[in-house]
């Protein structure tokens, strides 16, 4: 499976402040009763964006100035909790193509990379500075360079970190690991024969 190499993401940004934003908040469980991921985008952050009667709450994602943003900026431990892939799927289907945070919960991070949605970490101060630049000019274009590990906004540059394995996977278009795993069929057969509980020994 040849996938597109993801060398960078370019687009408008939106800042959703907060630490430990969990996947129940990103996509409440009641919207997960589905057999495909289609249509999840409209339920992204549903309960923090809507009153119980369905009307819109004040939230960055409801702010017209940030409409069309493709890069989400947020705090630390983003995506904690449930392993639901529905969380990165909802972000992706809402239009996001990258997330910048102080840190990520691991299952969320893995699920996002597998979708080809880079998650990069930046210093708290850097995120605050980008957020304040966006506040002044919501139309600013943010550019994440995966190879160089740099976030460029206006004339400023900030460090973006990504584990080497994820960086390589994105740059080589191997962010979905299935193809590689399938190529390992021979090793899988050999290993399975060696494991007593698989070999029925």
């Amino acid at each position: 499976m040849a996938l597109e190499a993801i060398a960078g993401v370019r687009g408008k940004g939106v800042y959703v402040p907060g630490d430990d934003i969990d996947t129940d908040r990103i996509i409440p469980a009641r919207f997960m009763k589905c057999v495909t991921f289609e249509g999840l985008g409209e339920y992204l952050f549903y309960d923090v964006c809507h009153h119980e009667d369905g009307s819109a709450k004040a939230h960055p994602l409801n702010d017209e100035r940030y409409a069309g943003a493709t890069i989400l900026l947020t705090g630390s431990n983003f995506g904690s909790g449930s392993s639901r892939e529905h969380a990165p799927q909802a972000l992706y289907r809402h239009g996001f193509r990258a997330v910048i945070a102080e840190s990520f919960a691991e299952i969320f991070f893995g699920n996002s990379i597998t979708l080809g949605m880079p998650c990069v970490t930046a210093e708290k101060g850097a995120i605050a500075e980008i957020a304040s630049l966006l506040e002044k000019d919501p139309d600013l274009v943010i550019e994440i360079d995966i190879a160089k590990g740099v976030i460029a906004v206006a004339d400023k540059h900030f460090e973006a970190k990504l584990p080497a394995s994820a960086q390589t996977a994105l740059l080589r278009g191997r962010w979905d690991p299935l193809a590689e795993l399938l190529e390992g069929e021979e090793a899988i057969t050999t290993t399975a024969a060696r494991l007593p509980y698989l070999a029925g020994k």
């Binding site: 969990d22 589905c34 057999v35 392993s83 691991e106 299952i107 699920n111 597998t114 795993l181």
Partner: protein
Amino acid sequence: MLRDMSLRVRMPERTFATVDHIVPTDKRVEPFDDPLADAMIKELRNNCVEHSITYFDLDSGRQGIVHMVGPEQGITQPGTTIACGDSHTSTHGAFGAIAFGIGTSQVRDVLATQTLAMSKLKVRRINVDGELGPGVYAKDVILHIIRTLGVKGGLGYAYEYGGDVFDRMSMEERMTVCNMSIEGGARCGYVNPDQTTFAYLEGRPYAPTGEAWQSAVERWRSIASDPGCHYDDVVDIRAEDIAPTVTWGINPGQAISIDEQIPIVEDAPESDKDSLTEALNHMKLTSGQSIKGEKIDVAFLGSCTNARLSDFVEVAKYLKGHKVDPKVHAIAVPGSQIVKLQCEELKIDQVFKDAGFEWRDAGCSMCLAMNPDKLIGDQLCASSSNRNFKGRQGSPTGRTVLMSPVMVAAAAVTGMISDAREVFGVSKGVMA
């Protein structure tokens, strides 16, 4: 996903399925009232037939929360690698298995190849030594660990639990602790296999028998960590420092012992102030107040953290002769059909029913509200589950206070968050 790619399930004989999140726990007649849940169970059934996957269905007598079913059937064994599309898969680590919660695409990878692409984890050894006080349970141990190390303290780590307290714990208690590893940010958590593990597994449907059993036990013993081995980090906790613990906020690390006061925002580090304020606002609580005495609306005894036989046995011991406060809606939800049956054979269900609890069928129920069991409005729920996130129990403004099962029972009968030791005169018990 597999069908689209013309792939088959690589090892159907090592693949198991059950249904837990979406099943109603009161009215289980099909079709379910919820058409989406009904469509999901039918799809699962068809897929299991098509791919020759063993499926513990509602009529099997073996259905339940997946993290109960694996151990009950003896599928969960030391030294195995287990993956499941649910973050609480870490539960299976209690057996000395490496068990990961994974997303849907990774489930696809596992089904297609029986392998998973992952980065190597660091290992943190967490020792809990000493003697737990009366009324202090495995649930308190893990809430205390998360409170101490923080909800992101485990990022990049596998947690290895050990020390006197874990050596003495039953398998069910170990499962309660490993279950919530993910709430501390750890990718998985485990306890080294020992005689307690082997005794639990022996004779279970999928456990090896005869000579194979002997060689399996030998192999399982050999995989336990060697004394004096190197860890990336070691944390020591004194059992005596652990009290009955409850959460007051909107993540499992925002916890205090039942005697403590909720943190004072002004005294907190600058970086924590916003999240403390957000949590207090959601929970409608005040900085510096005691959590004890806070009125509850719902008592939920269930979930993959605490819905095993020993949980119900221990609660029943204290609940007998008490009545649930008339203002409280109390539900008891066994984690599996087997647990439900065992409780009924012991006539424990009657203790719960007499007290005023609803006695339900097996499932995840109000832990995550993907079924009809949900909080309404800003109801406050005393819950034996694992997550107190905003909206977790089905209402965006609903409020969850996590605690041990006996503490849930104490809250149910008093109608408020209470110290079970005072309500029931709790003495030393054995339970998760």
